[in-house]
Subunit: 258 residues, 2 copies
C-alpha cells in the first residue's frame, strides 16, 4: 500500500472545483481501485462553508452553555460560538467543560468540528454539510475527467475517549463501503474470528493523516494506491446510534460539576 | 509512505524470537527511520501468554458479573472468563452488558483484549504483559542483527465509542514518541492551529491494519517506509488518565439497566 500526497494544491476558495484541481495534478499517477482522501477543510472552503460570529444571534440555550462554562471552568466561551455549534448539531452529548455534539450528518466531535484556524477572512470554518455527498460529487468530477473507479473519502481529525491525541477519521465517503465485514471468517485453526467489522474508511483516513500534516506545509489530498478492499462484504454504517452506544447513554445521564 | 507486509511468517510458538524471524524475512528492505508494526497476537504467542479457563478460580466479583450479564442480557458469560478479564485489569469501566476495562498497562478495551480465536491448543490468548517492553525487546533484537534505528509498534484492534467497527491502535511502542505535538505551529495565514497532538502510533497502527488483514491469510508484521516523524516535539502519553477523560468519569457514575 502506498500513500502519495497530491502536490501543490493552491489555497482553496469558494466555488473551486476540487476534482479538477486534483485531476490536473495526479495525471496518470492514479489508477482504478485507488482511494483519494481529501481533508474536510478544503471541501468546506470550496463549498463556501465559512461563517462569522456575528451571523449567530445568541439563543437562551447558547447563553446558558457559555455561562455554565464560564462558571465551572476558567474559560471564556463566546456565546455566539456556542450558538454556531448548536446550529450544526442534532444532539449535545456534553455541554461543559466543552461542547461535544452530534453533527447533522451523524459525526460526534468537539464543537461540531467548527474550525477557528484555517479560515482566511472569516471567523469560522464549518464542516461540509453532507460530506458523503461532497465525496460523491468529487468522485463524479474525477470520472468526468477520465479518472474512473476511484473511491473518495472526506477526512477530519478529532480526539477520542480513553486515548490522548487526535487521529484522522472519515466523515464522508463514496465509491467504497465504510467497513469490511469479517463475520464468518476463521483464523488459521478454523476458529471464528472475534473481530467482525473493520472500519476501513477510518483506517485510510488515519493513514492519510500521517502524510498530510497540519498547518502551512500541509497537503490536504492523498492518493492511496496498491490497496485492495478485497471481496469481503461491506457496510456503510459508520456512526453508532444511541441504542448501540453505551457511552452515549452514559453521557445522557451525566453532568459535569467542576 | 509505503506499507509492506512481512511475508511468510510462520505460526508463532512460545519462545520464538520475533526479531529474528522478521530480520530473516525483511533483509535489506528495511532502512533506518522505518517503522515495524507487529500484531499483539504474535507477540503474545511468542511470550507464552496463552491460558485456559480452568486456570481461573472464580471470585465473588466475577460470579456477580456473570450473573448480572445473564440476568440483564440474553448472553451467557463464563464466570471463569470474567475472572480472567478481572485479573488482567486495574479498573472495570463497564461490567454489563459486556466488560470494558483498563488493562494493567493502561489500554482500555473490551474483555481486557483477551482473544478466544487465534489460540491453538488453549482457550485464551492474553495481551502482552508490558507491550512497550515487548516493542523495546524486538527493537533491540533487530539492532543485534544489524537492523538499526527501526521503531517498533505493538498493535491491537479494538472498537470505540461513537463509531462502528474496529480499527488498529498501538498498545506498545519503542524507538519513537507516541504522538507529534503541533502546539505553536500555524496555518497558512499565521493562525495558531487548533489540532495540537496527533497520535501517530495509532495512525500507523490503523494504516498497518489495512494491509495485515485478519484470519487465516493474515500477515501480522508490516514495514512502514518513506515516512518521517519530522522535527516536531513528541510525547509518550497515549492513555488518558481518569482526570483527563470525561467519558471515564461519566461511566463511573453509570449503570446498565437492561
Amino acid at each position: 500500500m502506498e500513500l502519495t500526497p497530491v502536490a501543490d494544491l493552491p489555497e482553496i476558495r469558494p466555488g473551486d472545483d476540487i476534482a479538477a484541481l486534483v485531476a490536473e495534478r495526479v495525471g496518470d499517477d492514479v489508477a482504478p481501485g485507488d482511494v483519494l482522501t481529501i481533508a474536510s477543510t478544503i471541501v468546506s472552503k470550496a463549498e463556501g462553508r465559512t461563517a462569522d460570529l456575528e451571523d449567530y444571534p445568541v439563543s437562551a440555550r447558547a447563553q446558558e452553555i457559555a455561562d455554565k462554562i464560564a462558571e465551572l471552568t476558567a474559560e471564556e466561551k463566546d456565546p455566539r460560538f456556542a450558538q454556531a455549534v448548536l446550529e450544526e448539531s442534532t444532539e449535545v452529548l456534553i455541554d461543559c467543560p466543552f461542547l461535544l455534539t452530534e453533527t447533522r450528518f451523524g459525526h460526534i466531535c468537539v464543537n461540531a468540528g467548527i474550525d477557528r484556524s484555517n479560515v482566511p477572512g472569516h471567523d469560522l470554518l464549518l464542516l461540509p454539510k453532507r460530506p458523503s455527498e461532497s465525496a460523491e460529487r468529487i468522485r463524479a468530477g474525477l470520472e468526468e475527467r477520465g479518472i474512473e473507479d476511484v473511491a473518495v473519502i472526506v477526512t477530519d481529525t478529532c480526539g477520542r475517549p480513553f486515548r490522548h491525541g487526535q487521529r484522522g477519521v472519515a466523515i464522508g465517503w463514496a465509491g467504497m463501503p465504510a467497513s469490511r465485514d469479517w463475520r464468518g471468517e476463521t483464523d488459521r485453526d478454523g476458529h471464528e474470528l472475534e473481530v467482525t467489522v473493520q472500519s476501513v474508511v477510518d483506517e485510510l483516513s488515519a493513514a492519510a493523516n500521517l502524510v498530510t500534516g497540519e498547518g502551512a506545509g500541509g497537503t490536504p489530498a492523498v492518493v492511496v494506491s496498491d490497496w485492495d478492499f478485497g471481496d469481503l462484504e461491506g457496510s456503510d454504517e459508520l456512526f453508532r446510534s444511541v441504542e448501540d452506544d453505551l457511552v452515549r447513554q452514559a453521557l445522557r445521564e451525566w453532568e459535569f460539576d467542576g
